[in-house]
């Protein structure tokens, strides 16, 4: 077992973990942060995307021990509470950007840095930015609409 101390959504956590524990499993099973979803576990579906020091990354392709000392943001870190959603979340709500919701946390965490880097994206750029996240409901049009709406709200 190896001790790790990391900051998640501004809060510090220390735990002892096996080196083989994936960061995605650490978040869910050790810390109970179930917002980060696990789909393919080989980096393809994007459901487990989180921010590592502000940059998007697949939490299923990192070991928890690697996150020692790092600062992580998960989907739980976006909104203060359910009445104060992040404008990106609010936009997904308003534009019906989700059906079953399984892919949503990963999409939100991919779109946060994307919109920071590109505050006025075209529809093509949004579609390109979404290409690393799979939605099995295939409701992509509403997801694209939601990201577009968010870019307007966040101006």
């Amino acid at each position: 077992m190896t001790q790790v101390t990391l900051t998640i959504n501004g809060q510090s956590y220390t735990r002892n973990v096996e080196p083989r524990m994936l960061l995605s499993d650490f978040l869910r099973h050790e810390l109970g942060l179930m917002g980060t979803h696990v789909g393919c576990e080989h980096g393809v579906c994007g459901a487990c995307t989180i921010l590592v020091d502000g940059e998007s990354a697949r939490s299923c392709l990192m070991f928890a021990v690697q996150a020692d000392g790092l600062s992580i943001t998960t989907v739980e870190g976006l909104a203060k509470d359910k009445d104060n959603l992040h404008p990106l979340q609010q936009s997904f709500w308003e534009a019906h950007g989700l059906q079953c919701g399984y892919c949503t946390p990963g999409i939100l965490m991919s779109m946060i840095p994307f919109l920071k880097q590109n505050p006025n994206p075209t529809e093509d750029e949004i579609r390109h930015a979404l290409s690393g996240n799979l939605c099995r409901c295939t409701g992509y049009q509403h997801i694209v609409d939601a990201v577009k709406l968010a870019s307007e709200k966040m101006k």
């Binding site: 083989r20 590592v52 998007s56 990354a57 697949r58 299923c60 070991f63 690697q66 994307f114």
Partner: protein
């Protein structure tokens, strides 16, 4: 879908990492960005008994100019290559190609050294190393050696590295004067593994004749494939559509050896190679012509 047990080391210095590699050889896998290794471990296709994580070896994360070369530490992230101003200016082919590597979420973690050592025939960076005449520095406990990219890739997922060696640095010569570039690939979706991809470079002389050309292909054999015969056809000639067509036929019919997969038959891959060769050569020649 969970990795098997392994021992984990996260050395803080290269020296420490080299000591571990010497002690454990092939039993120890280097963990760089982990964007290919960790999926393989999750599937248990790969079950190393020991991981040497280089993510805390800060001395391997650099991109700097040195004379007429760019030196890149093996742990430089692909995302950093993408936004580096020196790379954009001095090796524009690399700058153009990096955004084709998977998705930003992957490039944020993936490293240049990791992708090169993984030596996936479908990956972009091995192709680019060959196209750019990269030299690769390998180190072990007792010393270091430089390996030319063309000698580094020896087969499918196989490199010239010895079990006790670690790739530490990549040296890229600046693009030559009057050299045009182009990188193109065709993938089922943006960010997917490409069915075919080509890196092309064309250097013109002052009169506008082709002095040298380079064509390197991904997913076209058991490593990056350098189409030397097709490139030779272009040398000392003024490039025109007919010549480019001939070179594209030579490369796509005689020099590459695609295997075909679930997305594309070998025939379709050859077809893509021909189309992409023509398009990349035209673009590279046009860019070179604008520099005369």
């Amino acid at each position: 879908m969970k990795p098997a047990l392994f021992e984990y080391h996260a050395p803080r210095s290269l020296e420490e990492a080299l000591t571990l590699k010497k002690e454990h050889g092939d039993e120890a896998k280097i963990l760089a960005g982990g964007q290919s290794l960790v999926p393989a471990m999750n599937f248990r296709v790969v079950q190393p008994s020991l991981l040497i994580d280089l993510n805390r070896v800060n001395e391997l994360s650099f991109i700097r100019e040195d004379g007429n070369t760019i030196r890149i530490g093996a742990m430089a992230r692909e995302r950093h290559l993408e936004f580096d101003a020196t790379i954009a200016k001095q090796t524009p082919l690399l700058h153009e190609a990096v955004p084709f590597i998977a998705h930003p979420q992957i490039r944020n973690r993936g490293t240049i050294g990791g992708s090169i050592v993984n030596a996936d025939p479908a990956a972009e960076l091995p192709v680019l190393m060959l196209a750019l005449n990269a030299r690769l520095k390998a180190k072990n406990k007792s010393g270091e050696r430089w390996i030319d990219a063309q000698d580094f890739f020896v087969g499918m997922f196989t490199t010239a590295l010895e079990p006790d060696e670690i790739l530490v640095e990549i040296e890229l010569p600046f693009s030559l004067p009057r050299t045009g570039w182009s990188f193109m690939e065709v993938a089922p979706r943006a960010g997917d593994y490409a069915m075919m991809g080509v890196a092309a470079l064309v250097t013109l002389d002052e009169a506008g004749k082709c002095k040298a050309a380079k064509l390197v292909y991904l997913n076209a054999g058991d490593g990056p494939v350098n189409a030397v015969e097709a490139a030779k056809l272009l040398e000392s000639e003024v490039l025109n559509d007919k010549l480019i067509e001939t070179a594209a036929s030579m490369a796509s019919e005689k020099e590459i050896n695609p295997f075909g997969n679930m997305h594309a038959s070998a025939d379709f891959q050859r077809h893509l190679a021909k189309v992409l060769t023509k398009q990349t050569l035209q673009k590279a020649a046009r860019r070179a012509g604008e520099m005369i």
